[in-house]
Amino acid sequence: MNLVLTAEQQELRAAVRSFLGTASPLAKVRRDMDSEQGYDPEVYRRLTGELGLAGLVVPEDRGGAGAGHAELAVVLEETGAALLPGPFLATTFAAILLTELGDKELLPGVTAGTTIATVALDADRVLNGAEADVILVIDGGEVRAVRGGDRTPLTTLDPTRRQARAALDGGEVVGASEAAVARARDLFAVALAAEQLGVLRATLDAIVAYSKIRVTFGRPIGSYQGVKHKLADMHCRLEQAESIVRFAAWAADESAGELPAAAALAQAYVGRACFETARDSLLLHGGIGFTWEHDAHLYYKRAKCDEVLLGPTRVHRTRLADLLEL
């Protein structure tokens, strides 16, 4: 089992972090989320094209980078920490599903960034459903690719990531395998947990930094145990969340038998840890954290939406209980 980043993974992290820091800092996230499309297609193009991140786990023979889920987790942690708007997670889900199904038709376009794809996790709410060229619809073990059709944008709590209601009828079958679909669902759980880890880390970093410079009653708030001890507990959550994400990503790559329980564990633990940390970070900021202008609420809302994206925590806990044969 490997729970520590390799030198190559650390380089990947640095590259993605540096790219997002320049191409999509939070000030730009705010502009993009208010734009008509809700994201900057140019950033998405560079992320998929220049950096090749949409096809990270896609085999090389289908245009991908042939990297592992451990690498994907590193990338999603960074896009999460940056609150990157747009369909990157949706496309990642699609690429995962198509890869597991052995697709050869759609993957090249998805990988190249020319096809924006998503997966309909739920009939009434499709992640980036209005922006996607292709919506993958799961019917038991069969997966259809639906293009066009009616798309109704929904209002979302999280302004940085949109959803839509979409007509999911018709389309061509791109593959059929219950095992592939089941494994893909577990891989979605791991991928989402990686994004949540990034959100968690960013919100903790933000309040730690603020606690060092914000003064009340003559000294920095981080010097008060009331704040310090909460931050220490948040750090403990981060350490555990990171350990679980690394484990789940390792299982995705190296230990298929351990993946289902690892994926359920990841969603059961990291989803709550992420929201609780985002909430505590916001609250500890005091009044400024409640303003629209401050970024704390964007993380708080992303954390809450992510927590229920693949179903609320109890769903993952129940699955974990089943897998443990309790």
Partner: protein, 395 residues
């Protein structure tokens, strides 16, 4: 006995006159209706029940005020825009104003003719109000004010504000503050709505740019502002604690009553989470009822009210969080048209309860210090001249 009669009459009056809703921003028509309601309330003898007759009040006792409040709880009154004036600014002027100030301001305030706001908080001075940096310097027999205030409710409607400023930076922070009445329409006063995380502008930021204040607008003594502010904050606490746990939860979609209808209780885990919400809600509701019964029996809750405030803040966050988890993805991605978004609104608003009226940390300090009598923390900021003190955000 007589109070029974007082309550009966109050109820009759309320039944005939109440009805309009309280709104944070009532609009022009709503504002006119609210003003008319206040004038009628004053004519009927229910505005300023305990305030001195001499200045426009009714000169009655806490008993009548409580009796009226108890009856009023069943109604929704359009008094929100007047609440700062009635709850904080007015009582401060009654306690500490000059007779000229009382004569000038109290009656119009009680009749809804003039609206007041309170100007204490600053970006660098929230919990720590006495760290404020807005400066007032003497000039031409009056004062010139520069600085910024924040979290000001109803400022967009306000005629006057109760303003706390720094007038001496060479003394420790509590000793160099001065309070004024400020005309909110004076040149140099800029009012800017402050959008909060729900996307609404419930508060304002106020900028003071060489604003002139005449000498007669001084409240209390020069450099005696902290004493005045403590008076105002005491009235604020009383008016908030009178509200805590009493406000209607009718529209809140994150209550036990609302959620039991909205979710699938055949799932044992859902059922158990609903029970948890019921337990916490009942525990706090019963505590609030006990405090109310004690108050009625003459036992003043004092700082124990901070426990109710802290618990309400925690319950509000807990229930909104739980509600979204119970309902699932549809709570956070929804059709605006089909009436969705209630829970999204609840989860976005939930932190407000922990931040307004003192953070959870401040509440815990108050409970520890004043209820449990624990030793205070050593304070470094009480003896240093203000100009040498770190305040606000510094890197």
């Amino acid at each position: 006995m007589e109070q029974v009669e007082y309550r009966r009459r109050a109820r009759t009056w309320l039944e005939e006159n109440a009805g309009a809703r309280a709104e944070a921003d009532p609009g022009t028509d709503g504002l006119a209706a609210a003003r008319a309601f206040m004038a009628a309330l004053h004519d009927a003898g229910y505005s300023g029940i305990t305030w001195p007759k001499q200045w426009g009040g009714q000169g009655l006792t806490q008993a009548e005020e409580r009796a009226f409040a108890a009856e009023a709880r069943d109604f929704t009154l359009p008094t929100y825009v007047f609440s700062i004036g009635l709850g904080m600014c007015g009582p401060t002027l009654v306690d500490l104003g000059t007779d000229a100030q009382r004569a000038r301001y109290i009656r119009p305030l009680l009749r809804g003719e003039e609206i007041w706001c309170q100007l204490f908080s600053e970006p660098g001075a929230g919990s720590d109000v006495a760290a404020l940096q807005t400066r007032a310097v003497p000039a031409d027999g009056g004062w010139i004010v520069n600085g910024q205030k924040v979290w000001t409710s109803v400022a967009q409607h306000a005629d006057f504000g109760l303003l706390l400023t720094r007038t001496d930076v060479d003394v420790p922070k509590h000793q160099g503050l001065t309070m004024f009445i400020v005309d909110m329409r004076a040149p140099g006063v800029t009012i800017r709505p402050l959008t909060d995380m729900t996307g609404h502008a419930r508060f304002n930021e106020i900028f003071f740019d060489d604003v002139q204040i005449p000498a007669e607008s001084l409240v209390g003594e020069v450099n005696g502002g902290w004493k005045c502010a403590v008076t105002t904050l005491l009235h604020e606490r009383l008016s908030i604690s009178a509200e805590v746990g009493m406000s209607g939860q009718k529209d809140n979609p994150a209550t036990f009553a609302a959620l039991r209808k909205a979710v699938d209780t055949s799932d044992p885990l859902v059922r158990d989470q609903l029970v948890e919400l019921h337990i916490r809600s009942r525990a706090l509701a019963l505590f609030n009822q006990r405090l109310a019964q004690e108050t009625k029996a003459g036992i003043f809750p004092g700082a124990r009210g901070s426990a109710a405030k802290l618990l309400l803040a925690e319950l509000t966050n807990f229930s909104a969080d739980l509600a979204v988890s119970l309902v699932g993805p549809e709570a956070v991605a929804y059709d605006d048209d089909s009436g969705g978004g209630g829970l999204a609104g609840a989860i976005a608003l939930a932190p407000a309860m922990s931040l307004g009226g003192g953070t959870n940390e401040i509440m815990r300090n108050i409970i520890g210090d004043r209820v449990l009598g624990l030793p205070p923390e050593p304070r470094l900021d009480k003896t240093v001249p203000f100009k040498d003190l770190k305040v606000g955000t510094q890197s």
